[in-house]
């Protein structure tokens, strides 16, 4: 299992992971409500699937709960090609599926477009995730890209040093 964060990409966010299964098995993990319900929720949070229509124009609407706090999210599927491509728009939402601002303390884009591609790699499957903001204001795009750049361009290294320094204080 490997994780690579690549730089120099227009999309800025690129994550590559390998899974020990054929493409179809990986694809199917995204393609039905039961499977998504099992793995999509972060550890320690309960995931409730309110709607699941895995088709272009369809929605995955879910609630995550932990410590009496709940957060709603939504995927809007754009393109689906079994077993190799899933394009979807991710946003935070309310209980009724209306798009809401993120719970983050900053001007984060309301909607992020994600593309997942699956490719054979020997006995394994390579999953590539790319993402970029859509329908965003220039300020929201700047926020998003500054975060992605910070992830990819060595800011992390600086912060690692900083964290060690802070521990010594």
């Amino acid at each position: 299992m490997t994780t690579n964060n690549q730089t120099g990409n227009k999309e800025r966010l690129t994550i590559i992971r390998h899974f020990n299964a054929p493409k179809q098995v990986v694809f199917d993990a995204f393609a039905n409500a039961e499977a998504m319900g099992e793995w999509w929720g972060p550890a320690g949070m309960d995931l409730t699937v309110k709607a699941f229509e895995f088709k272009p124009g369809g929605k995955f609407h879910y609630k995550m709960e932990a410590n009496q706090q709940s957060m709603w999210g939504i995927f809007k599927y754009v393109t689906i090609k079994s077993p190799e491509l899933i394009e979807f728009i991710v946003s935070f939402s309310d209980e009724d599926g209306n798009i809401r601002t993120s719970p983050f303390p900053m001007d984060f884009p309301l909607e992020v477009f994600n593309r997942i591609t699956l490719a054979d790699d020997g006995n394994r499957t390579a999953l590539t995730l790319t993402g970029h903001p859509i329908n965003a204001t220039p300020e929201q795009e700047a926020t998003y890209y500054s975060i992605m750049d910070s992830m990819h361009q060595g800011f992390g290294g600086t912060f690692d040093k900083l964290d060690k320094y802070l521990e010594k204080l």
Partner: protein
Amino acid sequence: MSAEARRDVFQAISDPTRRQIISLIATQPMNLNAIADRFDISRPAISNHIKILAECGMVNIRQQGRERFCEAKLDTLSEVSTWVDQYREFWTQRFDSLDRYINKVQSKNNSNDNK
């Protein structure tokens, strides 16, 4: 709140030169001229970036005699660090979870095949 008045840490780090300035002074304070010497762009341009960093709460400027010393505000920096780490962690954790799920499905499939 107008767009120009908006000053936060994420605006501060949206510019590559400002990120380099922060990296430079993250471990030790430096005076303005010493910082400007490290860059190919003009001193007034560097001075302007540092002004924005100060307005975003990421840098303190201290007058010491004739020198102006710039130091990173570590608490603000660590806030950004935490957030960026969380964002990175988010997809990593989702895919770790997917990996566990797929291994479970695969081992089920394999044991069925062996029957």
